[in-house]
């Protein structure tokens, strides 16, 4: 909880009733079922959930990167007052990479294996930065200029021997270094929003610590909005100001990090937190959530968590709850809990 989020609360990204379907052979996968989310300027926001909960689909929708057979069927995503979903392809391309960037999960598959790293990073400067005409027209000057820029950004992400790395190919680097290259690429054009989509999942724990440390430093120095998409609750607890927990394409709970981990309200969040082993608080057996993750071709009616929910009532299967503010900065998507907390705001 930094002051920036507590006081100003300038909304930089406002997602309203976002619905995304994937049209597969098995049927229509209703991946996102009305996501409402506001992300404040300058905060680190975490999106957590298990496989298939829709966290990646949400952020990819923000950048309009949903590919076949997926389709955004409903909703609005406002970035600085403009609905991203209504932008023309040409306009959205000006946002991608320049205003919003994404750091992907597996740095091996996300870097082009046959193009030199320097070239891949310099593309960012080439397309998103105004370069003086005399440099742009002179091939030699341009490559020198781009190389300088790339080396500069490599230094910023603490990549050693930046000048030498320029001509390397992705497979010649270690996993940690590749991830740094992806980060370099994502901050190259000085974006407003940086989305880290499971950015450290493929890394070993000591390398993950290095990368998280780097991201923290960059956030402090650059003051950008960071969105962490992850299944790792530890990363959320350490990196984020606020968190949204997703379940089956719906948002279960949104709260400030401390509130969410200390006093979770939604039964799913509670179950999830109890099911992870803690290094510093050992216990003999873990609590678990009964049942299985729903099949989103044929999702449960109403609240999608209701078949597994210990607090289930009749209304949960009949009517979908709204995401309601039950405490200051704390929203919950649950009929039972909303009734319990009524009037407390």
């Amino acid at each position: 909880m930094t002051e920036a989020t507590a006081n100003t609360q300038d909304v930089i990204l406002d997602i309203k009733n976002l619905k995304v379907n994937f049209y597969t052979y098995e049927g229509v996968v209703k991946a996102l079922d009305g996501i409402d989310l506001s992300i404040y300027k300058g905060e680190s926001f975490g999106l957590v959930g298990e496989t298939g909960c829709g966290k990646s689909v949400t952020v990819r929708s923000v950048m309009r990167l949903i590919e076949e057979p997926g389709k955004i069927v409903e909703g609005e995503i406002f970035y600085k007052g403009n609905d991203v979903l209504k932008l023309k392809e040409k306009e959205i391309r000006k946002l991608r990479g320049a205003k919003m960037t994404m750091i992907f999960q597996d740095p091996m598959t996300f870097l082009n294996p046959v193009i030199q790293i320097g070239e891949q990073v310099s593309e960012m400067f080439l397309i998103h930065q105004k370069i003086q005409k005399d440099i742009l027209d002179n091939k030699k000057k341009l490559s020198k200029y781009l190389k300088e820029k790339v080396v500069e950004i490599f230094d910023l992400v603490k990549l050693p021997d930046a000048a030498e790395l320029f001509k390397r190919y992705p497979h010649e680097l270690s996993g940690g270094m590749r991830q740094r290259v992806l980060i370099a690429m994502s901050i190259a054009a000085d974006p407003d929003i940086i989305i880290a989509d499971e950015a450290t999942t493929a890394l070993d724990v000591t390398i993950q610590a290095q990368i998280l440390n780097l991201l923290n430093k960059l956030k402090k120095d650059l003051g950008r909005t960071l969105i962490f998409v992850t299944h790792n609750l530890g990363i959320v607890a350490e990196m984020c100001d606020r968190v949204a927990v997703l379940y089956g394409g719906q948002i279960a709970e949104v709260a400030e990090t401390k509130a969410l981990f200390v006093d979770p309200i939604h039964p799913y969040t509670q179950g999830l937190l109890r099911s992870i082993p803690l290094l510093h608080k050992p216990k003999d057996l873990l609590d678990s959530i009964d049942g299985v993750v729903p099949n989103l071709v044929n999702p449960p009616s109403g609240c999608r968590f209701h078949p597994r929910c210990p607090l289930k009532e009749d209304i949960c299967a009949q009517e979908r709850p709204k995401l309601v503010k039950v405490l200051p900065e704390h929203w919950v998507h649950c009929h039972v809990k909303q009734r319990e907390y009524e009037g407390k705001v």
Binding site: A209, A237, M239, F261, V262, S275, I276, L278, H280
Partner: protein, 342 residues
């Protein structure tokens, strides 16, 4: 963290003489993989996957093996079961050295030692029904009469939390967690005494992981199993293990009680300390010291001389690059391989 825990540890010292207590004793185990080059496949080097490793596993306990990729934890598990032949060293299982045993004799021992792999999908034959998957090892090892087999399979299915109706299904019809249950059942049908669990929950979600871990703990009590639990996830290993072993580039850096990742810096190996501090803890109230190691894990084909960890160690000094530290006892059932921990 209670103090009662470290008393329950049995001695796993390399120089222990209470062999009856240990189901498995590994002595100077080495596993190198040759690196070949050129048209004539000349051997130009070795990957030091497991490099002179010595430890004991007490019966009925769980030993956790942690380390980053390339540390040799998976190879260690497979070499102990001779799924991969050891280069040298001894492996005593229930008193017998199985490392040099003939394969025919080893077959009898093999059914006492089983393994559950990380990816349940890849380790189950997609064309076999669950009942055949479970029946096969029993038919191969002829542990039971055919009539008894079916009854026994049902019992094991119940134990791992699968239903009768699952018997006639194929692996792809299961969820990740159920598939891992099938793998566990397959390992259990031969009534093993010792099971290697190689990242058994790495491919499932946390809520499923909790149930698999609980199941494993329950089965251990029920059948008095000994586990070797291999994982890169420190909190899962800590949760499951009685004894934790930290590996780095084929060497054991530390064997200690399960709480080593939360111990004070002077009491544990610098690498253990760094691991513990690197793990993000899902508890905003928990304060911890941050240690960021520099650089990457070196290539196991070309490990650094002296202490394997010295290139990244914040406390490294001259001697670390020159001399390989021994695994020394620092207190009861706690062993550290470091020049500066006594």
């Amino acid at each position: 963290m209670s103090t009662s825990e470290n008393q329950s540890q049995s001695d796993i010292s390399p120089e222990t003489d209470s062999d009856a207590e240990n189901i498995l004793s590994v002595r100077n185990l080495v596993k190198f993989f040759p690196i070949t080059s050129g048209i004539l496949s000349r051997v130009v080097g070795h990957v030091h996957a497991v490099d002179d490793v010595t430890f004991d596993i007490p019966r009925g306990k769980t030993i956790g093996v942690v380390g980053e990729s390339g540390c040799g934890k998976t190879t260690l598990g497979r070499t102990i079961l001779r799924l991969s032949e050891p280069t040298s060293g001894e492996i005593y299982f229930e008193g017998e050295n199985i490392a040099q045993m003939s394969l025919r004799r080893f077959r009898r021992v093999r059914r006492e030692m089983q393994i559950v792999f990380q990816d349940p999908y890849a380790s189950l034959n997609p064309r076999m029904m669950v009942k055949n998957i479970l029946r096969e090892p029993m038919l191969v090892h002829k542990t039971m009469r055919k009539r008894q087999i079916n009854n026994y399979i049902l019992r094991v299915m119940r134990e791992v939390g699968l239903d009768l109706e699952h018997l006639n299904r194929f692996p792809h019809e299961f969820s990740g967690g159920q598939r891992q249950r099938v793998c566990i059942a397959r390992a259990l049908v031969l009534n093993p005494h010792f099971v290697v669990l190689d990242e058994p929950t790495a491919s499932v979600d946390v809520s499923v992981q909790a149930r698999v871990l609980n199941l494993l703990k329950r089965l251990q009590q029920l059948r008095n199993l000994t586990y070797m639990f291999i994982s890169h996830d420190l909190s899962v290993v800590t949760h499951m293990s009685d004894v934790v072993m930290v590996m780095y580039l084929g060497k054991i850096l530390e064997i200690g009680p399960k709480r080593i990742f939360t111990l004070k810096s002077a009491e544990v190996h610098p690498y253990t300390l760094a691991l513990g501090s690197a793990l993000p803890i899902p508890d905003p109230l928990y304060e911890k010291k941050q240690i960021i190691l520099r650089g990457d894990v070196p290539n196991p084909a070309n490990p650094p001389p002296g202490c394997r960890f010295h290139t990244r160690c914040p406390e490294a000094r001259q001697i670390c690059a020159e001399k390989v530290p021994e695994l020394k006892k620092t207190e009861a059932s706690h062993y550290i391989s470091c020049h500066f921990r006594e």
